[in-house]
């Protein structure tokens, strides 16, 4: 288990237990985290599972992949810490991960 915390736009925090091997997006959906729409179901084809990774976790989470970089063109307010949560695999190394959910996935 890896604890993953989703901070809503209004500051509410939702703590979840991520299962290694699943994605951060799947963890959010399973725990009904508001603001993660994941329209395409994890195919990296919609950019509606956009999250901001908290600064202290950026290194551990790693860099965007090229397909994800392209898809982020469809997201709004993309920042250096932007990731698509369907492209982040949960692992023991990410135990304690904190991400922020944008106001809207649009």
């Amino acid at each position: 288990m890896a604890k993953i915390t989703f901070t809503q736009h209004n500051g509410t925090e939702i703590e979840t237990n991520g299962i290694p091997g699943m994605t951060v997006m799947e963890t959010a959906i399973k725990n009904q985290v508001p603001g993660i729409d994941a329209d395409c179901g994890g195919a990296c084809a919609c950019a509606t599972c956009h999250v901001y990774v908290e600064a202290e976790w950026m290194d551990k989470v790693g860099a965007r992949n090229p397909m994800e970089e392209d898809m982020l063109d469809f997201a709004f307010d993309v920042r250096p810490e932007s990731r698509l949560s369907c492209q982040i695999k949960v692992s023991d190394a990410l135990d304690g991960l904190r991400v922020r959910v944008p106001e809207k996935q649009f």
């Binding site: 919609c46 509606t48 063109d73 709004f76 106001e103 649009f106």
Partner: protein, 342 residues
């Protein structure tokens, strides 16, 4: 251009389940018109994942969305359905004679004996970026598609995005516009390399501007835009003068007009029974991702099964009192004739 059609069946949605409905209805001599909001067949397979492999289509261990669509179209070809693209169905209403009147935003109308809603996740519509206050400019200054190029003649056009729509319209509108700026969040483009090269040549020749950044706010009054405030890739904030902005952020699925047709819904999905896949209105059916019933699994293969059962009841609805003899394509000369293989 306004056109009217009379037919046996109207299928709303040209995704895999809509196309397979043509096949199943065709085997029972039911002629179809298919309507889709996209400019081509395939639905989500065409729009969301044309090149991504699907692994759970029976007998096809691996197939892309585009290839599956092509194969389904080929399979349905003998039944000569007419496909109408770039059309959103806006109205669906039962007529006094029991048929259904279907109207589209492109002024097409259909009188049909049955209707099959195969609308997947709803209709694909342009994504509207959540820039504060953008709605106020939508009638006069912000456009999500180009309906008439003339709209943009002599204006200060700002195009936002980095895909083919953004680049194609940059190249097409540049000669008409008073000024044209392309804004993208990074100096890399998903669009066809040829379009990107042409755009860069125009920039080098001083005929248009390319800016890197994201729109954060809009300025203007009475619905008329005067400038977009942009946060640059380097963190700087600047204004781009514009009175016609075109944001191209791809498409999203919205239930859209389906909600207004008087059908019983459950969590934005159309409720059907699992014997006939008929909605709360007899004669209107729903197959594929758009429908809802206990145990529903949103898989393409579920939609195929639903289409086969739907077609049986559609036959009885269209031919009341007539007996339907069940036949196999492997052994029935009758069916093989319809398929054009004997």
């Amino acid at each position: 251009m306004a056109e009217h059609f009379e037919t046996d069946a109207v299928i709303i949605g040209a995704g895999p389940c809509g196309i397979f409905s043509v096949f199943e209805l065709g085997l029972l001599d039911i002629r179809c018109h298919v309507i889709d909001i996209l400019d081509r067949a395939g639905g989500q397979c065409a729009e969301l994942y044309p090149e991504k492999p699907i692994y759970d289509i029976p007998a096809l261990p691996i197939v892309t969305g585009a290839e599956l669509t092509q194969r389904l179209l080929e399979q349905a070809k003998p039944f000569k359905a007419e496909f109408h693209y770039n059309q959103m169905v806006t109205e669906l209403a039962k007529q006094p004679d029991g048929r259904f009147l279907v109207k589209t935003d492109g002024e097409l109308s259909f009188l049909s004996k049955i209707v099959v809603v195969a609308a997947g996740g709803g209709s694909f519509q342009p994504k509207k970026p959540p820039i504060p206050g953008i709605e106020a400019y939508e009638a006069k200054s912000v456009y999500y598609s180009v309906k008439k190029m003339e709209t943009f003649r002599g204006r200060d056009v700002l195009i936002v995005g980095g895909g083919d729509s953004a680049l194609d319209w940059t190249l097409n509108l540049q000669p008409l516009a008073k000024s044209l700026t392309l804004l993208h969040r990074r100096d890399e483009f998903r669009a066809a390399p040829d379009s990107v090269n042409k755009m860069r040549e125009l920039v080098a020749a001083g005929k248009m501007q390319l800016k890197i950044g994201q729109v954060t706010g809009l300025k203007g009054e009475n619905g008329v835009l005067s400038a977009a405030t942009v946060k640059g890739g380097d963190g700087s904030v600047f204004d781009v003068t514009t009175n016609a902005m075109l944001p191209f952020f791809g498409l999203t699925m919205k239930l859209g007009p389906v909600a207004e047709w008087g059908l019983n819904l459950h969590e934005n999905l159309v409720k059907v029974d699992t014997e006939k896949f008929e909605t709360s209105t007899p004669g209107i059916f729903a197959v594929g991702d758009i429908n809802s019933y206990p145990g529903k699994v949103k898989l393409i293969l579920s939609g195929f099964h639903e289409a086969a059962l739907m077609a049986q009841e559609a036959f009885h609805h269209i031919n009341p009192g007539q007996r339907l003899v069940f036949q196999y394509t492997t052994s029935s000369t009758n069916l093989q004739k319809k398929l054009g293989v004997v």
